[in-house]
Symmetry: D2
Subunit: 234 residues, 4 copies
């Protein structure tokens, strides 16, 4: 998931259909091909998550897909995109400080406003409709050089709680994940984390966590889950 | 699980074997019968969780079962037992205040000390060995009339964190659950929670959560998960 | 403080001098008069906290005051301004959602970047220099209809932690306050909070809290403090 | 305070009178002498905080002092005593694990039950009556080798919250402090904490914090405050 740099994955768009939203098509092309090859149906939609019109256009396409196949949207996942600068506070520019807010928090707002009306129509699905925000340890702990990342992570986590409380009783499961560790993707393959094996988070295991969250019945919903490798210090 | 009033479930005792520990045999007899009827193997062991000798005896029996079948312990679950008095603080007796500590926190200590050496031997199992503590919202929020319950819930949650940090790198997955809501069991059938359907937590869904935690690979372990019905306020 | 709608109070600007920053002069005129009458020196500076140039201009005036009197800035307080809309999530406009970020979080960033270099020059003052952010319960608890307020409150609290960790060792005391309750000011005089007397927070008591924070020696700094009336539920 | 190894300080026992409770008279003798020399009145009472009879006896003496001078109890402070073993979990004995509960948590219960009825009689004092629990970072963060200390610290913090919610509306201010760092006392004089000066917490500054908490009016009560040296990492 993270390996595709997609910032949003919209699942359940038609039987076996997945839509992947990312700014650059290069971020989702491999995934689209992989899913298509394995017999699934995957649409990539070039989207700038911080631009309300771009998000609206993406969801127009998704709605068109839904009506073509007479189906409903059952899962929407918002992954943090954005670039975060790690540097002394007094050296940050205003743009560096606020950049993450637009892609991460405002983007989460735009995405949620577009996805929730569709998810609300799917409350009779086998598994209740799910809106998941991918977060990080920076959502609960602030570091000295990472105010850029931490403040928008806190904000996004707060948004997930507000939405869970408002939309839970309406039948939409809203969850937030705290991914505490390095994800094991091609880009991080060579990174040294520790002297232990298996010290990076497997993307497949994250997918399992999201699938588990999605399949929880409404009598037993998780709002927040943390995941980390067994050797991670915290 | 809660319906059987068992305070500890020790799974993986031999192929398909489960041991259930509870003070009164009446607490586990139905469960033992149910599992046996459905083709599984379940042993009930009368145990006083707050008594170190009783816990040691229970684990001696479990070890005997393990060696009989040449197998390993792969999961141990500690459910809060104990009775908690809800009353004005100045009316609490010393025994009422401390009772829960013995059954809940000290019991969790005794259980963990007995289970961990066995779990450490099973780090090569298909799913890494798991120690789960069942907690409640009172583990993160104290109420005015429930200092009895809250203080031991905080203590047990703290214990789970210490153990996760010490035994995670050794290959044992330690997790804590926050069960926020009424569990849907015979005893609570008639309780009125809200005007909504499905407003109590399904025990099967809790079992699914525990199974999910147990099957997480060590690259992706959850330390804490909350579950609540979709209409629960929090 | 809140009664003046000032969003920033910059104390220690010269011996006994205070600068008050607010968008509308009407927000600080009364305060300036009050302080002047009682023998103090108070400067009001019309400032738009979400505009970096406006903040820079304000601090240029403050620096001019400082050099006139050959003195140092010893305390800077950032109060949340901004208006927050309480409404169902799907009815929020993008501007309504993001408005608070600009005034509250980005404003806190701009203010901190301008104030910290001056505070860093005052580490030899009798009381270590202090940067305080006024926060709310919404900084640690999200409500269903208040995602607007909560997400920026979380973000500001996160910023205060990052700054405390970076600038504490450099001699600047950074703190965050959680004001949990209604402040007793003219505008709230008629609000009914409870059946109890003294159920609103006295502004003088908040000022005492800030003064206490400011006078803490560097061996004993508080990063976060909550204050609420004795009858407040939480 | 910590330097005297006193586990409880009961202030306001008569005009200018303080009672200090500790198991060994050697823990309070110096303090009693110091206060007496400086013109105050200080009573040391040998008390085993984990023994209800001993605590009752101590408060009988305090009540006798109160009626002698026709005065009221206005402040009660519970400091953690007890010894905590830092060692691998599987090497802990049951006594080592539970020892801290008796002195720290059960002691806090016994102390609170004895102090609160007296504090409730002083709600008309100049400063509202105050009950303060001294806690540590271990009350919010569990370490791998310190489950002994952490679990009772969590429990005591939980107790302080329950009491604050129950007795706040009745006029008693209940607070909890998180002392994050080494206190600068004779015993720790030679300890190396960092390369910075002033890297240990001054006991006088802690006393100021407690005095500040005690003098807060009931419109503005703090439930929890953290204090740490400016160079402390957290």
């Amino acid at each position: 998931m993270a390996s595709t740099k997609a910032w949003a994955v919209v699942a359940g768009v038609g039987p076996g259909t997945v839509a992947v939203l990312a700014r650059n098509p290069s971020s989702y092309q491999d995934l689209v091909e992989d899913i298509t090859k394995s017999g699934g149906h995957c649409i990539g939609i070039s989207t700038d998550c911080s631009d309300s019109n771009s998000v609206k256009n993406a969801f127009s396409q998704i709605k068109a897909e839904l009506s073509k196949t007479n189906s409903k949207l059952t899962a929407a996942i918002y992954n943090t995109g954005g670039k975060f600068v790690r540097k002394p506070f007094l050296k940050l520019t205003e743009d560096e400080f606020t950049a993450g807010y637009h892609s991460s928090t405002k983007g989460a707002f735009l995405f949620s406003q577009a996805a929730l009306p569709l998810l609300l129509e799917a409350t009779d699905a086998q598994h209740p409709p799910t809106l998941i925000f991918t977060g990080a340890t920076a959502a609960i702990k602030s570091s000295p050089m990472l105010s850029t990342f931490a403040h928008v992570s806190y904000a996004k986590r707060s948004l997930s709680q507000s939405l869970a409380k408002e939309f839970g009783p309406k039948g939409v499961h809203v969850a937030h994940t705290i991914i505490d560790g390095i994800i094991d993707i091609p880009r991080t393959k060579q990174w040294k984390v520790s002297d232990f094996p298996d010290d990076k988070i497997s993307p497949e295991a994250i997918a399992d966590a999201y699938w588990y969250l999605h399949t929880q019945p409404r009598t037993c919903w998780t709002q927040e889950i943390d995941v980390r490798p067994y050797v991670e210090k915290w």
